[in-house]
C-alpha cells in the first residue's frame, strides 16, 4: 500500500539521518563553491591577460575539465592518485578537490566573459578622472562585473550542488547514499519506500536550490541596465 511507504521516513532516526546526509552534501558543495568562486575570479583575471602562453594553458585546462565527465575526474582523484602515487585521500577531500577544479574552470570562464563584456571606454573614463588602475578595478570594473556575473554564477552553484550526488560512487555517505541505505534496510517490509525516500530527497534538493535560483532571477531584474 502506498501510504505505508511514507511511514519509513519517520521511523527511527531515518529523517535525522537523511538531513545529516543533506548536511554532508551541503558542506561539500558550499566548500567547493566558495573555493571555486575565489579561485575562479583569479583565474578569470589571468585568462584576460594578453600573454599567449597563459591563454593556451588556461584554455587547455578549461577544455580538459569540460570534456571530462565529473565522475571520471572523481575516480581519477580518488582511485587514480592512490594507485599512481600512493596518496590516500578521503572521499570527502577528493570530492572537494574535484568540484573545486571543475568549478574554478567554469567560474573562471564566466569571470573572463563578464570582464570582457565591460567596454574599453569604462577603463578610459576611469583613467580620465585620474583614478589609478587599482581604483578603476575596485570602483568601476568589479562592481559592473559582479552584476553581470552573479546570475550566471548562481546557476553554476546550483549545478554544483546537484552534481555532488555523484560522490556516492566514491563512498561518501551523503544524502543519496543515506536514502539508499534506508531503502535497502526496508526492502522486504516496505517495498514502496524507494519512491517516498527519493521524492523526499528531490524535495530537499529543491528547497536548497530553488531559493538560490530565485535569487538569481531577482538580481538579474534588479540590475538590468
Amino acid at each position: 500500500m502506498q501510504d505505508l511507504g511514507i511511514r519509513v521516513l519517520f521511523e527511527g532516526k531515518n529523517l535525522v539521518r537523511l538531513l545529516g546526509g543533506l548536511w554532508v552534501t551541503l558542506q561539500i558543495s558550499l566548500l567547493s563553491v566558495a573555493l571555486s568562486i575565489l579561485l575562479g575570479i583569479i583565474l578569470g583575471m589571468i585568462m584576460n591577460m594578453k600573454n599567449p602562453v597563459v591563454k593556451v594553458i588556461t584554455r587547455i585546462y578549461l577544455e580538459f575539465v569540460r570534456i571530462m565527465p565529473q565522475l571520471v575526474l572523481l575516480f581519477l582523484v580518488y582511485f587514480g592518485l592512490t594507485k599512481a602515487f600512493g596518496i590516500n585521500l578521503s572521499g570527502e577531500v577528493s570530492a572537494v578537490i574535484v568540484f573545486t577544479i571543475w568549478g574554478t574552470a567554469e567560474m573562471g570562464d564566466l569571470v573572463r566573459g563578464a570582464l570582457q563584456s565591460i567596454p574599453k571606454h569604462q577603463y578610459e573614463s576611469g583613467r580620465a578622472i585620474g583614478l589609478n588602475e587599482f581604483q578603476i578595478y575596485a570602483h568601476i570594473i568589479i562592481p559592473q562585473t559582479i552584476r553581470r556575473l552573479l546570475p550566471l554564477a548562481i546557476n553554476l552553484v546550483t549545478r554544483m550542488i546537484k552534481t555532488t550526488s555523484l560522490i556516492v560512487l566514491i563512498g561518501v555517505v551523503e544524502m543519496v547514499k543515506v536514502g539508499q541505505q534506508i531503502i535497502e534496510s526496508n526492502r522486504l517490509e516496505v517495498p514502496s519506500a524507494a519512491i517516498w525516500i527519493y521524492a523526499f530527497i528531490f524535495f530537499l534538493y529543491f528547497i536548497v536550490c530553488y531559493p538560490i535560483s530565485r535569487l538569481s532571477v531577482r538580481l538579474e531584474k534588479k540590475w538590468k541596465d
Partner: protein
C-alpha cells in the same frame, strides 16, 4: 599671445602605431584661458592627439608639458597627471552602476581624496548650472544622450582640471541635443576655462575658438585665428576641407 602664461606645451610630438605614423612633429602651445579647436578630416589624428595629451596613448618622440612640468610618458604617475587634465569622450561614458551624483563624486573623492561634503556642494552647483540638478539620484540609463554628455562635462570639471579636452563630444548625439551640450561649452569658454576641442561642428568652432589648428595626414598644416581660417585659409588643403561643408544649390 606669448605674454600669457602657457599651460600646455606640445613639442615635436610624434606618435606611431608600428609603421603607421599617426602624428608627426606636432608643436602646439596653449595659454591659460585659451580655447583651441582642432579641425581636420577623419583619420588625421585629432582624437589621437587629445589621447596623447591625456596619456591614454604613449608617444614615440617629443614632449608634452603641463604648467612647465613634463607629463608625457610618465607611466606610473600618469594618473596624477590626468587629475589635472579633464577629458570628455564622444561616447558619453558614465559609469552605469552609479547614480549621476556618484559618477561625479568618484574622481574627486577617490583620486583626489577630497571631503565628500565639499564635493557634493560643488557637484550640485555644477549640475544646477547645466540644468540637471533634479537628475542627481537618477542612473545614467534614465538620461538622454545630451544629458549624459552634460553630466560627463560636470564630472570632468569637478576635478578642477587645468585644461579640458573635448573629443568630438557631440558626434554621437541627435541634432537637437547638440545645442544643449555646445551651450555648456560656450559658457565655460566665457568663464575663461582653458580648452582643447576636437569637433566637426564648424559654426561652433568658429564661435568658440581663439585659435584654430588644422591637422591633415598626421601633420599640423595650418594654425590661425577662426576669422582667418574660415574666410581666407592659407593652405589649399584647408580650402578643400572647408568646401566640403558648403553645398551648391541643387535645383
Amino acid at each position: 599671445m606669448s605674454k600669457k602664461e602657457k599651460i600646455l606645451e606640445i613639442k615635436h610630438l610624434k606618435k606611431n602605431y608600428d609603421d603607421t605614423v599617426v602624428l608627426n612633429d606636432i608643436n602646439i602651445d596653449v595659454c591659460k584661458g585659451e580655447v583651441v579647436v582642432i579641425l581636420g578630416p577623419s583619420g588625421c589624428g585629432k582624437s589621437t592627439l587629445l589621447r596623447c595629451i591625456n596619456g591614454l596613448e604613449t608617444i614615440q618622440e617629443g614632449e608634452i608639458y603641463l604648467s612647465g612640468e613634463k607629463i608625457s610618458n610618465q607611466d606610473k604617475k600618469m594618473h596624477l597627471v590626468r587629475q589635472k587634465v579633464g577629458m570628455v569622450f564622444q561616447s558619453y561614458d558614465l559609469f552605469p552602476h552609479l547614480t549621476i551624483l556618484d559618477n561625479i563624486l568618484l574622481g574627486p573623492m577617490k583620486a583626489q581624496h577630497r571631503e565628500k561634503k565639499e564635493v557634493v556642494v560643488e557637484a550640485e552647483k555644477l549640475l544646477e548650472r547645466v540644468g540637471l540638478l533634479d537628475k542627481k539620484n537618477a542612473y545614467p540609463r534614465q538620461l538622454s544622450g545630451g544629458q549624459k554628455q552634460r553630466v560627463a562635462i560636470v564630472r570632468a570639471l569637478c576635478m578642477h582640471p587645468q585644461v579640458m579636452l573635448f573629443d568630438e563630444i557631440t558626434a554621437a548625439l541627435d541634432p537637437e541635443m547638440v545645442r544643449e551640450v555646445l551651450d555648456v561649452m560656450l559658457e565655460l569658454a566665457k568663464e575663461g576655462s582653458t580648452m582643447v576641442i576636437v569637433t566637426h561642428e564648424m559654426q561652433f568652432a568658429r564661435a568658440i575658438a581663439d585659435r584654430i589648428i588644422f591637422l591633415d595626414s598626421s601633420k599640423l598644416v595650418e594654425e590661425s585665428s577662426p576669422e582667418e581660417f574660415f574666410t581666407t585659409p592659407k593652405t589649399e588643403r584647408a580650402k578643400q576641407f572647408l568646401n566640403v561643408f558648403d553645398f551648391d544649390i541643387a535645383k
